[in-house]
């Protein structure tokens, strides 16, 4: 084949531009850390990466949701713990009061005053807030369970509705604890004692009732504990999911730095070779040797 200068320079131009192209692609990959930057680079990788990206986003969101779940459950448990302590103190007081031989009417009056304080503390527990939500108000999270204006506990159906938070695709976890009946009952008991004016209240019956209420509190706490366990389980699962999703995503679309840098160095040396070969081949022509 007859070879001419213009062919040499055209071929060299083509080789240079293709090696520039290759290096440009590698540079882009190294800058972004991604194998693909447009669908036509590799449609399969891009389609998968859309799916994996969504998956990672979802897991991250579910983890945030789980944080909210823990907030609810921890605060509910703390509040219930407080309620239990109030009941224990009430039981002590009732035991003292029941001992009619040694307790004077004056003492009983003192006990009543303390009970009143306990009743108020109970109201505070019933109105426990997490952020701007009242956690014992069912779905009426903007309203306190104890209505200070009406001086009583709310009883609407919505106050008993459960609140759930999604912690995984289709998995809801109940975060509310329905304690309005419990609070109502305790309140009723305290009010009964307070309203006793003739000093003939049967405190031994009250002790029994308090024991029953303590059982209720324990049951609520057991329920909360069980749900906390589930949340913890879910947290572990989500962590594994996150790891798996991120790994899949990374394997799918991230570059292998060692490989890409090696490729870049290879392309660079090819590019240099192209340049120097071009410089050697194109320059000399017969013109240089004819005098």
């Amino acid at each position: 084949m007859r070879v001419t200068q213009s062919m040499l320079s055209q071929n060299m131009l083509r080789n240079l531009s293709s090696s520039y192209n290759k290096m440009g692609k590698l540079q882009e990959q190294l800058n972004t850390g991604k194998k693909v930057n447009r669908p036509s680079d590799d449609p399969v990788v891009v389609m998968k990466s859309l799916g994996y990206g969504m998956q990672v986003n979802r897991v991250e969101q579910y983890q945030k949701n789980l944080g909210e779940v823990n907030n609810w459950l921890d605060s509910s448990d703390d509040a219930m713990d407080g309620v239990g302590q109030v009941l224990h103190r009430a039981r002590e007081l009732a035991t003292n009061a029941a001992n009619s031989g040694t307790v004077t009417a004056n003492d009983r009056e003192m006990i009543k005053i303390e009970l009143e304080q306990l009743q108020e503390q109970l109201q505070d527990f019933a109105n426990t807030k997490v952020g701007d939500k009242h956690i014992f108000s069912g779905k009426m999270t903007d309203k306190p369970l104890f209505d200070k204006n009406a001086g009583g506990y709310q009883s609407g159906a919505s106050f008993k509705e459960n609140v759930s938070i999604e912690v995984f695709d289709g998995v809801d976890l109940r975060v509310s604890t329905n304690a309005s009946d419990l609070f109502n009952n305790i309140n009723q008991l305290f009010t009964d004692i307070k309203n006793d004016t003739d000093d003939k209240y049967d405190f031994s019956a009250a002790i029994e009732e308090i024991d029953g209420l303590l059982d209720d509190v324990l049951m609520k706490r057991a329920d909360i504990g069980a749900r906390s366990n589930r949340a913890e389980l879910m947290e572990n699962r989500l962590m594994m999911q996150e790891g798996a999703a991120k790994k899949q995503r990374s394997e799918n679309e991230d570059i292998d730095y060692e490989k890409t840098i090696t490729d870049l160095i290879t392309s660079e040396s090819i590019h240099r070779a192209t340049l120097s070969v071009g410089a050697r081949i194109i320059q000399p022509s017969l013109t240089d040797f004819l005098r």
């Binding site: 007859r2 055209q10 669908p39 389609m47 859309l50 945030k64 999604e166 017969l286």
Partner: protein, 527 residues
């Protein structure tokens, strides 16, 4: 009897001919870098011997050579390689233009990235999940609204940008048609000049080169077939004659240029006064002789050349009432379908169905309104015609996050459940629900599929463009190997012709000396 000065004449012819060869060498060197230039050669031929044939011819032993003349100056070119070159250029034209059109679409869609539609949908879903777990939080509501606006904006932006590029493609079709007509006009003019020159016995090499360059250009737009007609008169046997151009189609070829006439190509349905392009191309008409108004319909166009690729990107109809096809209209239709299906599903969940006991309630206990609305009330909801309800934008409390039974005038005692975020969760699911309007895909799945299809088409186009580019380069190399100027070769020729020139000059000196002998040295006996 030969003449005394015949030797001088023979050498003079040598001088002249070698000089012509040297001039041609100079012309070649001068055009070494001219695109489309084919190297030229002087075809030297010995002049007829002495004596000439005839009854009363002189009697000398054998024919005596009378020197050399430049018979013709011919360009070195191989029409078969030209044919190959144009067929590859035609393929490259198609795939390059397609690659460009797909790359532009990819740029607009911007996937995969943190700014694409996919990301805004994903962000929207996240904000709805946050709202589901904190429905009483005004901030969470505001975020949902903002992310909803971002989704609508993404749809608007992508749809508008694609429509804009589609318009640009239409302009490009227009410009291509103008270019094609201009090339045809120039070739016709060259045909005319060649037909003028050739019968006088000349070879207009530079006109041939110009014409071949134009044919190369034309072949990137359309698949063409080229044939030649002799011009007659005293035209040399190697004269090329005038060119006839036919556009190849799936049906029968259309002759668009012959001798002195060519047909103007016009776009069917284009408004000639405003220059407005039809919404989709149905074909082209070749007006005037020799095509005589022949129709180049899109269905007949071969899948080759830049023009067809532009038409396929811009959008076309194979029959007047047939379906609209083409890459850009397809993507627009897909986006519209997706936006409509998503907005419909989302609105359905956001509004609930109180008649059947499915409630969607906002923070004030009122039933949810439409979340997504049309921008232009005269048209249905679509990717370019979607926005978030301005009532909801101005009051994010109107996001119907709850499924509680609403307060109304007849039932003022029911309270809206502020802590109920069930509907926000349902709204989030709108992205993943399998929708009949999308053929059973989810919005998310449908989009990923559209991106995937675009990617596959793009990958194919890039590969084909690369392949046909490589093939074109190798054909172009082959062509150059035949036609392009090698400086080394020209230098060698230069020395060849220079030496021959010098030698001819020396011959004249020798003749001079011989004649000197005759004139000055003879007949002086006894002087």
């Amino acid at each position: 009897m030969r003449s005394t000065f015949m030797g001088l004449e023979t050498s003079k012819r040598g001088l002249y001919t070698q000089q012509s060869a040297l001039y041609t060498t100079g012309h070649n060197i001068g055009n070494a870098n001219t695109p489309g230039y084919s190297r030229q050669r002087v075809n030297m031929q010995a002049t007829s011997g002495f004596p000439g044939v005839g009854l009363n011819a002189g009697t000398v032993p054998g024919f005596l050579g009378t020197g050399v003349e430049a018979g013709s100056i011919q360009r070195i070119r191989d029409t078969f390689v030209d044919h190959q070159y144009r067929s590859e250029a035609n393929k490259l034209g198609y795939w390059e233009s397609r690659t460009k059109a797909i790359a532009q679409m990819e740029d607009v869609l911007g996937e995969p990235s943190e700014y694409g539609l996919q990301q805004s949908l994903s962000d929207f879903w996240q904000s709805l999940q946050t709202l589901a777990s904190s429905p009483e939080n005004g901030g969470a509501r505001a975020v949902v609204v903002e992310r909803g606006v971002a989704v609508a904006d993404s749809f608007n932006y992508i749809s508008k940008s694609i429509a804009e590029i589609k318009t640009n493609l239409g302009d490009e079709i227009n410009v291509s048609a103008v270019n094609i007509n201009s090339i045809l006009g120039q070739i016709t003019e060259l045909n005319r000049q060649i037909a003028d020159v050739e019968p006088n016995g000349y070879l207009p090499n530079d006109l041939y080169d110009a014409r071949d360059g134009l044919l190369d250009q034309l072949s990137t737009y359309l698949p063409i077939e080229v044939s030649y007609e002799k011009t007659g008169g005293r035209a040399p046997a190697i004269a090329e004659g005038t060119v006839t151009i036919k556009i190849m189609t799936n049906d029968k070829p259309i002759t668009v240029l012959q001798k002195n006439t060519f047909s103007n190509i016009s776009i069917n349905g284009k408004n000639e006064t405003t220059g407005e392009m039809p919404k989709e191309i149905t074909g082209f008409t070749c007006n005037g002789a020799p095509a005589g108004g022949a129709e180049l319909s899109v269905a007949d166009m071969k899948k080759s050349g830049e023009l067809k690729s532009l038409v396929e990107s811009y959008g076309y109809k194979e029959t007047a009432d047939g379906p609209v096809k083409g890459m850009y209209p397809d993507m627009l239709a897909k986006l519209d379908k997706m936006a409509t299906a998503f907005a419909t599903e989302f609105n359905k969940i956001h509004q609930g169905d109180p008649a059947n006991g499915v409630y969607a309630t906002d923070l004030d206990g009122k039933p949810g309104e439409e979340f997504f609305k049309v921008i232009d009330g005269t048209k249905p909801i679509s990717a370019s015609n979607i926005k978030v309800n301005e009532n909801i934008i101005s009051n994010p409390n109107k996001v119907a996050a709850s499924t509680s039974k609403p307060v109304d005038s007849t039932d003022p005692t029911t309270n809206p459940e502020v802590g109920n975020g069930q509907n926000a969760q349902n709204l989030g699911n709108a992205l993943f629900n399998k929708l009949a309007a999308l053929g059973g895909s989810s919005v998310q799945g449908y989009f990923a599929q559209a991106i995937g299809q675009l990617g596959v088409a793009g990958q194919q186009a890039v590969k084909m463009a690369e392949n046909s580019g490589t093939l074109l380069l190798s054909v172009s190399n082959r062509r150059d190997s035949i036609s392009s100027v090698s400086l080394d070769e020209e230098m060698t020729d230069m020395i060849r012709f220079q030496q021959a020139y010098n030698a001819s000059a020396r011959m004249i000196t020798v003749m001079d000396e011989a004649l000197d002998k005759i004139i000055n040295g003879m007949g002086t006996v006894g002087r």
